[in-house]
């Protein structure tokens, strides 16, 4: 496809499948439901691992409106492995700096990636329809991944080792059976409803308006892409406003409106345009022409399902958990769900692990969801104080932040998405040797610049799709006998010229990390033998 595709207008053709005329329901080992960022990432990952995947979507279009726009470093690293990271970064707007205002005064500025030596930025902002569009195009390159548009699951039954799905199409319903079903069908998840399950938690009584605005002239003199957050600004007294930039010179303004706002009235252009003009006049001291691209009034809740696994149906992304948008923890955590689930389903289907490994998908990602919900709830309580006293303390923190560094650490305009360290996972092998805490078992691997055969490379780029033994020094002779890939920073082929890899991994010569296929640390040693690595590998595949 050319690069002038209008992803917002793109429609995908429904095609009748031979399954629809089959005498008996066709069987598929893996069915993914929902072609959003999570379902697409999961389906691509499974297909790249060699699995045959069927992806069903009830629609035939990409995301309506920009929706999730902030994609975090970790998501980009996952998408690098799926072959779409570079496209996302090229099209998206990279940023790492945020500014926080109280009234009309800047109280502080933060940098989410203050150190150099990472391939990917802290964040890119990119409209969801681009992210989905690039993922769909990648999916279409994989012959063992089939997408069926306008295929809506309307019934589900589990019996023994299979799930029977009834799928509605423009040609009427048909049945198929699946070995495993991944429900990536969004916050209103029809599959969750079909199983009689619900997502429970805290609903926030507040409304927010998103307005996507296209400016021809740069909004900032230096054309910077920064996240600006105002508490109680003069142009929107008593509420908060968030501004950030997306691709195609589109900026998003996010206004807190309060619970009493009328959502239908607020999404009308005649209401939105004067709001935006006021921000420009009072926030930027000028008037600029703009066009309104898209607007939406939303509410949110912090909630999750009790369990992400129900027999052979596994829930991932918004179907399993929901957060407030502050912190960009929705789509980003969903893509992490997908990558956690992909290698485990692959290992089970290959007979390398037992079905019980999938229980660890649920427990690890439930733990991560709790972390995301906690962060998201705390940010929401700071941004939208629920009582006079909570507003008093909030404003006192903001008032102090101007002058005192300690208070800036308390200001919470959203703790932006970082991947969870899976402490307590049954797949981890506890540290036996002394190490700094940062990259403990359960933590996601961090990037560092390397030099390979004299050319610049990156540590994460060198890791394979399976288990990897990352060795600081020459690869031990026994490693070839194990079912793992080996990446040896041996100083010959692969060199750590800046010493950043050794520093970040607290490594000395001989230090060895066992990384899972999703690049979380399974175990680490100062100088392991084959038996220790074998034990850790077993632990990471067969939790008991």
């Amino acid at each position: 496809m050319s690069n002038v595709v209008d992803y917002q207008q793109l429609e995908f053709e429904y095609r009748k499948s031979p399954d629809q005329d089959a005498a008996a329901p066709a069987h598929h080992a893996l069915v993914v439901v929902g072609a959003g960022p999570v379902g697409l990432s999961l389906a691509i990952d499974l297909a790249q691992r060699g699995q045959r995947v069927l992806l069903l979507d009830n629609d035939h279009k990409l995301s309506t409106g920009s929706r999730a726009i902030c994609f975090a470093k970790r998501t980009l690293e996952i998408w690098d492995r799926l072959g779409v990271g570079q496209r996302m970064v090229d099209k998206g707007v990279s940023w790492s700096v945020g500014r926080v205002f109280f009234g009309s005064q800047e109280v502080y500025r933060f940098d989410l990636l203050p150190e150099a030596g990472h391939e990917r930025p802290a964040f890119i902002n990119l409209q969801q329809y681009y992210a989905e569009g690039f993922l769909v195009e990648r999916a279409m390159e994989l012959p063992n991944l089939e997408i069926r548009w306008q295929n809506k699951v309307s019934a589900l039954a589990q019996e023994g080792d299979r799930v029977t799905l009834t799928v509605d199409t423009p040609d009427g319903p048909y049945a198929l059976t699946a070995g495993y079903v991944a429900a990536c069908d969004g916050s209103r998840s029809p599959l969750r409803g079909l199983l009689g399950q619900e997502s429970k938690g805290r609903v926030f009584h507040d409304r927010f308006l998103i307005a996507d605005l296209k400016f021809d002239a740069p909004l900032f003199d230096n054309d910077a892409a920064e996240r600006w957050f105002w508490f109680d600004p003069p142009f929107h007294r008593g509420y908060s406003v968030l501004l950030h930039k997306q691709a195609d010179k589109v900026w998003r303004l996010d206004f807190q409106l309060g619970w009493d706002a009328d959502p239908d009235a607020e999404r009308q252009p005649e209401r939105i345009v004067p709001r935006v003009q006021q921000v420009l006049r009072q926030g930027f001291g000028r008037e600029l022409p703009f066009t309104l691209e898209w607007a939406s009034v939303y509410t949110f809740a912090c909630l999750r399902m009790d369990r992400f696994r129900h027999g052979r149906v596994l829930f991932a992304g918004d179907s399993a958990h929901g957060v407030s948008p502050f912190g960009a923890r929705g789509a980003n955590s969903g893509v992490q769900d997908a990558e956690n689930l992909a290698w485990k389903l692959d290992a089970v289907l290959r007979g390398r692990a037992q079905d019980a490994l999938l229980d660890s998908y649920a427990s690890e990602r439930e733990y991560a969801a709790d972390e995301n919900i906690l962060n998201s709830t705390r940010a929401t309580d700071f941004i939208t104080p629920k009582s006079e006293i909570s507003r008093l303390f909030r404003d006192a923190v903001l008032g102090l932040a101007r002058d005192f560094a300690f208070a800036r650490r308390v200001v919470n305009s959203g703790r932006l998405s970082v991947p969870a360290t899976l402490d307590g996972s049954a797949l981890n092998s506890a540290d036996g040797d002394g190490f700094q805490a940062a990259l403990r078992p359960g933590a996601p691997a961090v990037d560092a610049p390397l030099v390979k055969n004299g050319k610049p490379s990156w540590l994460l780029r060198e890791l394979g799709a399976g288990f990897t033994l990352l060795v600081f020094g020459p690869a031990p002779a026994w490693a070839t006998a194990l079912d793992v890939g080996t990446v040896a920073i041996d100083g010959a082929v692969l060199r750590d010229e800046q010493g950043l890899a050794a520093q970040r991994y607290d490594a000395a010569p001989g230090t060895t990390y066992l990384l899972r296929p999703d690049h979380h640390v399974a175990a680490r040693w100062r100088k392991p033998d084959a038996a220790a690595v074998r034990r850790a590998l077993h632990q990471a595949l067969m939790p008991c």
Partner: protein
């Protein structure tokens, strides 16, 4: 450990300074001052367990509660 035994260097001077700090403030400003004071002192203390003990001690037997 939260210190609840006498620890103030000069209790009467402190109390006078506390009231003086609120001199001429509206009730709203006094609330703001108190909130800022809590935050500054909390940062000075630093330890979460001590702060939690202080929160619990402050909340026990509040004036105006039934007991």
């Amino acid at each position: 450990m939260l210190i609840t035994e006498p620890n103030l260097e000069r209790p009467d001077d402190f109390y006078e300074a506390l009231l003086a700090a609120h001199q001429d403030l509206t009730l709203e400003q006094s609330h703001d001052l108190n909130a800022r004071l809590v935050l500054l002192l909390a940062n000075h203390v630093g330890r979460l367990d001590v702060l939690q003990a202080a929160l619990a001690a402050a909340r026990a037997n509040l004036n105006g509660s039934s007991r």
